[in-house]
Amino acid sequence: MTWLGEQLGRIADEMPEHDLAARAIAVHQRRRRNLVALAAAAVVVVTLVAVTAGVRALPAEPPVAASPPELSTVRIGLIPSVEAAPVYLALMEGYFQEEGLTVEPMMITGAAGAVPQAETGALDLAQTDYTTHFRAYELGRRDFRIVSSLHQAAPGSFAIVVHPESKIRTMADLKGKRVAIPNLMDRGELTVRAALKHAGLSRDDVKLVEVPYPQVAAAIDKGKIAAALLAEPFVTTFQDTGQVRVLENAIPREFENLHTAGIAATAEWVREHPRTLAAFQRALAKAQHLIASDPEQVRGVVPTYTRVERRQAAKVTFGSYPAEPDRGELQRLADLARAHGIIEQPADLGRLLGE
């Protein structure tokens, strides 16, 4: 495929998916009902107008809540993996609605893609792998704040995968091969660099390329890449369909329980929308508490925003969903990012966390 075709594909990846059939059927039925109702209504209107002849009582204004959020609609960029589950759970449970917010999830292919979209205001909030924002900070894009935590990994939440019939058995076999991550210089790259180092290789011993999680199976199948870093639920689904095999013991131990996802916004957005942010955080925390008391909720919600079947969802591995960013854990992540050359300076966590 041409570069143009490939890039168009990547742009198309941003399109979130909804079930349009149900909505089309509903619209169609409503129109049919309306047609019948219209005829009846015409009769009623004529009668009513004659009877009430100018008598009109205006209903009282509905009471306004003490101080509603500044924004009624919040657009959030999310990567469709298990990491984003609390946001979708809060949507499903109506927690955002209770706070007077309409939250619109927009699919992003990686945290890096959402950085410019947040800067221009196309997105209000965006999922981050933290690493991307450590690096953005170092590149001079300092106006970001980490406002919520989403996911802390558990062993198995991420995996490095290859073609089921591939001869690759260990990380060392990847020498000279093409390895995919969602975005270059993100936490995926950090993880792959560490895994390579563990196997006695360096970043330059492989060719790193960008492939979003949903397209990994196809890319491996076509031989475009030899291996890829995958997040759940893709690890489970692609294994289930026989499209990939997990490279055992590839990911170093200290990466298995990292805080892998949070939510970021620009500092300006945070300053201008304190009530919106607080309302969002309250609703999200409520979903995270629900998961903490009943982790199975995650299996219920994942099939609503990914292509995972319920049957497969039962096998998906996920970590925990802490509501607050953990400074100690972020420091550990930043230190790893620095040790593996993703960032050069120590990260300014105080500023990123808005302390």
Binding site: W3, Q7, I11, E14, H28, A112, Q117
Partner: protein
């Protein structure tokens, strides 16, 4: 209901590629949904008749393209792209930035040029196929593709080296490298 079940099965099987196409055409998630939604509502209204159509996917695509081109003509506003490339320094590995530039440039093409590019290069269809879908001649597809690529090169010179060169493009008959 049988009618709904058949329709639902069709949408399940085809909505993803159709939505992606709609998104590339409109450049905006809500517009894309609106566009496909209007096509689907139209289709369910005629579902009993449509059963006799062989290739429903092509039918949906044609309807959508048709609607998109006339729709954009009716309310062609100075379309504002949703993201701007950062003016700060960026590393060449930032493929994201090139993508934003491409996206922005695409939004400035005419609806038909955009449709031709997306069908030719994203859906990888032949000129003949594209002509059928758009209800125009192969010659029109060729000239539209040529104008569209020339305009992209003019709008975003940094993309020029990465854009395809058409085989039978009179301006580039040498060194075609698609």
């Amino acid at each position: 209901m049988d009618r709904d079940a058949g329709f639902r099965a069709f949408v399940d099987a085809h909505q993803r590629p159709l939505l992606r196409l709609a998104y590339l055409l409109t450049g905006e998630a809500h517009l894309a949904e609106d566009l496909l939604q209007s096509v689907l509502v139209r289709m369910i209204g005629r579902w009993p008749k449509l059963r006799r159509v062989d290739n429903l996917d092509a039918y949906a695509r044609k309807t959508m393209l048709n609607q998109y081109i006339s729709w954009r003509r009716r309310r062609s506003s100075g379309e504002v792209p949703s993201a701007h490339p950062p003016d700060r320094a960026y590393t060449p590995e930032d493929s994201t930035v090139l993508r934003i530039v491409l996206r922005q440039a695409l939004m400035r093409l005419t609806p038909k040029q955009r449709a031709v590019l997306v069908l030719r290069f994203y859906e990888d269809r032949s000129e003949r196929d594209v002509a059928d879908l758009l209800g125009c001649s192969v010659g029109t597809v060729k000239s539209q593709a040529h104008h569209a690529l020339a305009r992209l090169r003019a709008l975003a010179p940094e993309l020029a080296p990465r854009l395809p060169v058409l085989d039978d493009d009179p301006a580039h008959s040498e060194g075609a490298r698609r």
